[in-house]
Symmetry: C2
Subunit: 363 residues, 2 copies
């Protein structure tokens, strides 16, 4: 069962409910990445407490470690990680092509050798979906072909064709699958790829191959192209977008779902989100700062610890700082999204977005 | 206010209640180490949930980072770390002498230079206690002089004399201070040092300079010497002892308090305690093991995760394994102690100890 119901719109922004079998979430939604079946430094119980609705894991990484069978034996990813919420899985096509392993892309799929086990893996679109299903993914992502940025037109044209061909083969593998568009930042190619994907009537449509280094305006522009083509009654997912400002801008352009390692990676690099912008908690300004990171934040870090203490943990290389900062940054994203949903519902998303961005950028 | 009340004895083992101002604990008690104002990978909330009654932090480390003033500004260690339980602080004499910094021991105290800030620190016994008090320690430990193992007789004799002289000076600095005996494994010297310390009538008496590499039998023997000299009506603290078997053997010889990084350090090195002995969770035996580490354990790790999942986290270098394993190992220690207290109360400590050790060593 897959159901996507728009509850309110505000301009292009949409507040919706998405149901996948027995799992229901509200969008706009941000998913932390649990690449290897774990959100770095955190537990599933903590994610639940933060209000995280869904995670995205990565088939490619799980294939290498622990292997599909281990997760099957555990009863699937949900049981393995003790996570009751929604689980998207990415095909890992992006990672396969960029991996240190020798990889080869053919019309048939992607072949690569792992130096972990010496094996050669041949990932066809069919196998890719099948494996995502086997590990118990709620929503599987198509195998796509994403060239790096910048890529020449020829490479992008090839990626659009290949991504379409692979998507057609993925589609035959069942339901609860999202298609992914490519096309880089070349409008006609992006348009073409979006139409290709839409034609296949996946449960949802994703934007791939953006937020990989292109100028922000090109990213926004190609997002607009995508959402103007993606049908209104299906969820739209911008893969790999994680900065608060970009997310609000893309909600404003009609995107519903986001994922990124950005909040947790920033946390591990000592960078913490606040409504007045990012702060580097290891800066000496915070040495004696007895306030929480954000007095209005309800995260376990802000309820229990001061900036001074977290500063000390960083300086002393006590790695619990990574947890505390990750908890806060993820809660910040959860609040950003729930405030966003509320603003859409109340028809004031534009003001919410503008106010947030002004404060955040000034900081 | 300092109160130590023995509630039950069983042979030499004692079940007691210890009150330090408004903080009450039960002994035998094991304290995790929060060397730099944090138990590695864990939060204070987790420690409380595990039933941890007290922690030991290290004045020497805190002096270097974040500095005494930062902790004072935060309102003391309890506020700084958000920890309501008991806090012992060690002088850090042990670490000062062994540090990479150039250090010099004179009758006056210990002098060392830190390459962190280029400063030279002169730690006298008086300053050492004063600083522990300033950071809000509940129980301060004397500055002692602990030679390495093995040390020759001359060195040990010198350490006994110096430790006594320093203890006399510490005693003048106030109350809620434990003395520390030295003497290595030479019975007469150990005896002499214990008597020196006892004469100064500290609130508690500690065994120092053991569990640093000497044969187990010598450690047990010198523990017996110590507890035969230490008065019955005061708490006895074996510093730095952390293996479950050794702790039970020393409770059986009349020791009340223990601390060590052993459980958390083992956890970070992928070694997990079970009633059937230690296991290396990264061994391939556990790859598909769907049981918790210990089905009878009530720790968050055992309630939520399988051996298979923790094995995967280790293999995938997902550092949350360190937390999960640390939580379990510390809960194991807490259970060991509460079961021990119960066994003393019920007059069956010997059986409890023997059964535990037999099972643990067989595993």
């Amino acid at each position: 069962m897959f159901d996507f119901k728009i509850l309110n719109t505000d301009g292009e922004a949409r507040y919706a409910s998405m149901k996948v079998d027995d799992k229901q979430v509200e969008t706009p939604m941000f998913m932390p990445v649990a690449t290897k079946a774990a959100v770095k430094t955190l537990t599933s119980e903590e994610l639940e407490e933060l209000g995280v609705q869904g995670l995205i894991s990565n088939m490619y990484h799980l294939l290498l470690k622990p292997g599909i069978e281990v997760i099957e034996n555990a009863g699937g990813l949900h049981q393995f990680m003790n996570w009751d919420g929604l689980i998207f899985t990415d095909s890992g096509g992006f990672q396969m092509i960029r991996s240190d392993f020798e990889s080869k892309v053919t019309p048939e799929g992607v072949t690569f050798s792992s130096d972990m086990d010496g094996k050669t893996y041949e990932i066809t679109p069919e196998k890719c979906i099948e494996m995502q299903k086997r590990i118990g993914s709620d929503v599987a992502m198509c195998l796509d072909y994403c060239p790096p940025y910048p890529a020449d037109r020829g490479e992008l044209e090839k990626s659009v064709i290949r991504t379409k061909e692979w998507a057609e083969r993925c589609r035959k593998e069942g339901e609860h699958i999202f298609g992914i568009s490519q096309g880089g930042t070349i409008s006609e190619l992006r348009e073409k790829s979006c139409k290709d994907i839409v034609d296949l009537e996946f449960e949802g449509n994703a934007i791939g191959g953006l937020s990989i280094g292109e100028p922000t305006e090109l990213m926004y522009g190609n997002t607009e192209i995508s959402t103007s083509i993606f049908p209104k009654d299906k969820p739209r997912y911008f893969m790999g977008l994680g900065s608060p400002v970009d997310i609000l801008e893309c909600i404003d352009r009609g995107v519903d779902i986001f994922d990124s390692a950005y909040p947790t990676r920033n946390a591990r690099h000592r960078t913490i989100f606040t409504s007045n912008g990012k702060i580097r908690i290891d800066k000496s300004d915070f040495k004696d700062d007895q306030s929480p990171i954000d007095p209005n934040c309800e995260c376990p870090t802000c309820k229990n610890y001061t900036r001074s203490y977290i500063h000390h943990l960083c300086k002393a290389e006590e790695m619990s700082w990574m947890r505390l900062a990750s908890l806060h940054n993820l809660k910040f994203m959860m609040d950003l999204m729930s405030e966003g949903r509320k603003a859409i519902k109340e028809g004031r998303f534009e003001t919410y977005k503008d106010d947030f961005i002004e404060r955040y950028k000034k900081g």
